[in-house]
């Protein structure tokens, strides 16, 4: 049941590039990554594309398909009918070559999020947590770091200048995950999210939630609850006074 489809591929690097049209065979049930691989094996041996698991579990083959951030391994060719499929690299990050973008921004941001801190007296094997209490963080730990949420977020998508002070949705759920982790003891996670990682710059358009291949409710379950708590603390006069009087860390 093979048929020919039209694929338009962005080829080039940081200095120059453009869209190239190719015709390629597509079989029943194939995903966009399959046809890209076919082009690579038969027509463009040096076509650059990242991929690993081809099962939606590793988050490597992130790219833009007809302008939408998607995983190429989870996007059915058939969904586009007879339409030409255009594949381009993630727009929010610098291109390296063809469909491969430089996503090192994300690994730098990851280093800036303070790590998990278990209670000092906790003995390995002695932790007791209820399923219901771990589930909130587990939702965020489903993240496969495809960085589609980072790519789609309009705070940085067309505003390179915001990157310095904005960690992005992937790292807001990382902070939320730690904040809701039953064993984490580090204080002030929400406040640093606001003050150091740019939580306040998010204006809740939910684009990140829409593109998440793991269906994590990034906005509703991580960003909004943190924003609300930050607002409570910041604008609650009693808490404000308390923090001034006691000069104590850890109210947030």
């Amino acid at each position: 049941m093979a048929r020919k489809i039209n694929l338009r591929i962005w080829r080039g690097d940081a200095t120059d590039g453009g869209l190239q049209d190719v015709q390629v065979e597509a079989n029943e049930g194939e995903v966009v990554l399959d046809v890209i691989h076919r082009v690579q094996a038969t027509q463009m041996g040096d076509l650059a594309v990242r991929w690993n698991c081809k099962a939606g579990k590793c988050g490597s083959c992130s790219m833009e398909i007809n302008g939408k951030p998607r995983l190429a391994c989870m996007t059915q060719v058939a969904a586009y009918g007879d339409e030409t499929i255009t594949v381009t690299p993630l727009r929010a990050f610098p291109v390296i070559k063809d469909l491969v973008a430089d996503v090192s921004f994300n690994y730098k941001k990851a280093m800036e999020i303070p790590a998990f801190e278990p209670p000092k007296e906790l003995v390995p094997g002695e932790a007791r947590m209820q399923q219901i209490d771990v589930e909130r963080s587990q939702e965020f730990r489903k993240c496969i770091e495809c960085f589609l949420c980072q790519d789609v977020c309009h705070v940085v998508r067309d505003h390179e200048e915001n990157k310095k002070s904005f960690a992005g949705p992937r790292f807001f759920i990382r902070i939320a995950e730690l904040d809701m982790h039953p064993l984490d003891t580090l204080k002030n996670r929400k406040r640093t999210a606001q003050e150091e990682h740019g939580l306040g710059m998010c204006n809740i358009t939910k684009c990140c939630t829409e593109v998440c291949p793991e269906h994590i409710k990034i906005t509703d379950n991580a960003i909004i609850p943190m924003k609300e708590r930050v607002a409570d603390i910041k604008y609650d006069p009693v808490r404000w006074l308390g923090s001034k009087i006691r000069k104590r860390e850890g109210i947030v």
Partner: protein, 631 residues
């Protein structure tokens, strides 16, 4: 572009870890915590290694779900699963240390699913007597790799506080391929490779190298492995003078997806069967009852009623045969399909919808639900899945000293995880891989650290650098040579047809000749385009590794004239007690792989006595049983 000596990128570390999956990251943490400077080499982006695809869980006898469990039971299960070809000491260390390694992950932030008492929940899996797999839904591998990735970031943050820089003492080199392990004066001196992104070359000087590169699945056509499973570490180790042990043993996971063709081979977790999924053929027959081998008859139910009762009462019923070790289930599925009782697309049916509610399926097997719904248009809460065997894991690997993970014969070289051999014998139990990589990743880190502290680093000679550089340049200098993609496809066809799940001497002979021919042609691979992120160029090096691995597998397989675990010979269908006493050792002389027999170390009395003698009689010669242990 030839690399100029004066501009070559050079790094010096105490320990170089090749591979950033579970074993590599665990090794790196250990080496760093012992005070050393560590480089981690990662062929893809950080956190994408094949470990993320491990679904079911990590086996550890914590006894949270059944308090009868302990390391001795786990040890017995592991040896049985491997048909007693395992290195006893590795199986012992693994069974004893797995619980501590899991609890340690919890201290690093891992969030496993919980029991009602709030302990780590444990699930059933094939070959494990008790529920033993610590898990997070069906994405346990992701949890492991992310936890260790974040632990490494935590170490980097500590280094920043102490030394002013995140990457001063532990650095991840992502998207970098190692093409050669370098030795001087007979010991490890470093490694050479190139950045995948730019194609530019890098020299690492380090007195210790830990190989943690995972498996070889991409040598085969139908595999659950990602593109990275090209046997790099196996080949690098062979070329560096190390041995590979028992490369004939490959695990074909019984349940890979079979339809549509695009997803063929993608893993369907054993948890589906652990949670109560049953296997049926096109006649609707639950066929596994017909395939319980004699050695397992007293442990597995021979009728549906008992098998079904087991899910509620494990103390008074035998286990369902769907939970036999993987080699047994894979062979059974293969037989059903060959007998014409397969599904439309050449698999069998796996159904969990009749035992569990839609809600529970989506909760316990979320990524399976997702995977089938999005890629195959199948709703597993309502209908059965079509499944068939897929090349999943290589039991064979680098021959190591069990306690230190040191590669035999090469001072300074270590190997851990799937790339190491011995631990799983002829067949690995599900769940033992994630615990293996934690236990032996840590041991490799410790072993390498102890070695580095008592050795003197030798600088890499410029002539060694020049020859490593010349090899990288070679495919660009050729024009009109072979295409690496086509050669890879040819190799996969040969291994699939001739070195697959069922083998014969004649086919293996044919395979060895064909692999040699492809290898000869691969010396003439030409690459189009430049050095910058060029997958054709990358594949040329991966292909070389896969060919060496395939040669080792085919040559080991033709020698072993018996069927055991992940090695089934149609012409030698029985298990042979004599062969149980031998490992196959592959070595490489620069031209070809040679395979020889070597005596398998026998377990001491204290381990021997953990078994019922009647059971051992099924595997061992009367002399061995009478001796009762090596000491």
């Amino acid at each position: 572009m030839t690399t100029d000596k004066s501009t070559l990128e050079r790094h010096k570390y105490d320990v170089l870890v090749i591979g950033a999956g579970g074993a590599g990251l665990r090794a790196a943490v250990e080496a760093r915590e012992s005070g050393l400077r560590v480089a981690i080499i990662c062929k893809s982006l950080f956190g994408k290694a094949h470990t993320v695809m491990a679904e079911g869980g990590a086996a550890a006898s914590m006894g949270n779900a059944n308090s009868n469990d302990n390391w001795q039971v786990h040890f017995r299960d592991t040896m049985r699963g491997g048909k007693f070809l395992n290195h006893f000491r590795m199986a012992e260390l693994h069974a004893k240390e797995s619980p501590d390694r899991i609890w340690e992950l919890e201290m690093w932030g891992a969030l496993f699913d919980r029991t009602k008492e709030g302990k780590i929940s444990q699930r059933n899996f094939g070959g494990h007597e008790y529920p033993r797999l610590a898990h997070v839904g069906d994405r346990t591998g992701l949890e492991l790799i992310r936890t260790m990735q974040q632990k490494i970031v935590a170490l980097q943050q500590a280094d920043k506080r102490e030394h002013g820089e995140y990457e001063s003492h532990i650095k991840v080199f992502a998207e970098l391929t190692i093409t050669e392990i370098l030795k001087e004066d007979g010991k490890i001196a470093g490694a050479y490779g190139y950045w995948r992104e730019s194609g530019s070359e890098v020299l690492f000087e380090a007195p210790a190298v830990i190989i943690a590169t995972g498996g070889v699945g991409k040598t085969f056509k139908i595999t659950s492995n990602s593109w990275e499973g090209t046997g790099d570490g196996h080949a690098l180790a062979l070329k560096a003078g190390a041995n590979l042990v028992d490369m004939e043993f490959l695990q074909f996971h019984p349940t890979g997806m079979v339809w549509p063709p695009s997803v063929r081979g993608i893993l369907v977790t054993e948890s589906v069967r652990g949670e109560g999924g049953i296997l049926t053929n096109s006649n609707g027959e639950r066929f596994m009852f017909k395939y319980i081998p004699d050695v397992f008859k007293d442990k597995y139910a021979d009728n549906e009623a008992e098998a079904d009762r087991w899910y509620e009462d494990q103390d008074n019923n035998r286990r369902p045969p769907e939970l036999l070790p993987r080699d047994e289930v894979a062979r059974a599925i293969n037989s059903e399909v060959k007998a014409g009782r397969g599904s439309e697309h050449g698999g069998v049916f796996l159904d969990v919808s009749k035992r569990l509610s839609a809600e529970i399926i989506k909760k316990r097997l979320p990524s399976m639900w997702h995977q089938f719904y999005e890629l195959a248009g199948v709703d597993i809460t309502k209908e059965p899945m079509e499944v068939g065997p897929t090349c999943h894991y290589v039991m064979g690997g680098v021959e190591v000293e069990p306690d230190t993970a040191a590669a035999v014969g090469v001072p300074g070289l270590y190997a851990a995880g799937e790339v190491a051999g011995g631990m799983h014998g002829s067949n690995r139990l599900g769940g033992n891989s994630l615990s293996d990589l934690l236990v032996f990743g840590r041991r490799a880190g410790m072993g390498a650290a102890a070695y580095v502290k008592q050795t003197t680093a030798v600088p890499v000679a410029e002539a060694t650098v020049a020859s490593a550089a010349a090899r990288i340049e070679a495919p660009f200098a050729r024009s009109g040579g072979e295409n690496s993609y086509s050669l890879h496809a040819e190799l996969q066809e040969v291994t699939h047809n001739l070195v697959g799940i069922i083998r014969t001497g004649d086919e293996l002979k044919d395979a060895i000749a064909k692999i040699a021919d492809i290898r000869k042609r691969s010396a003439n691979v030409a690459v189009s385009g430049g050095r910058k992120f060029n997958p054709g160029f990358h594949l040329a090096f991966d292909l070389d590794n896969m060919l060496l691995v395939a040669e080792s597998t085919a040559k080991s397989a033709i020698g072993r004239e018996e069927s055991r675990g992940g090695h089934t010979r149609d012409d030698f269908p029985g298990m042979d007690m004599g062969w149980r006493q031998h490992n196959h050792i592959s070595s490489f002389d620069g031209i070809q792989v040679t395979v020889r027999k070597q005596a398998l170390p026998f377990m001491p009395k204290e381990l021997f006595s953990l078994f019922d003698v009647e059971e051992l009689k099924k595997y061992m010669t009367p002399d061995e049983v009478a001796k009762g242990g090596s000491n």
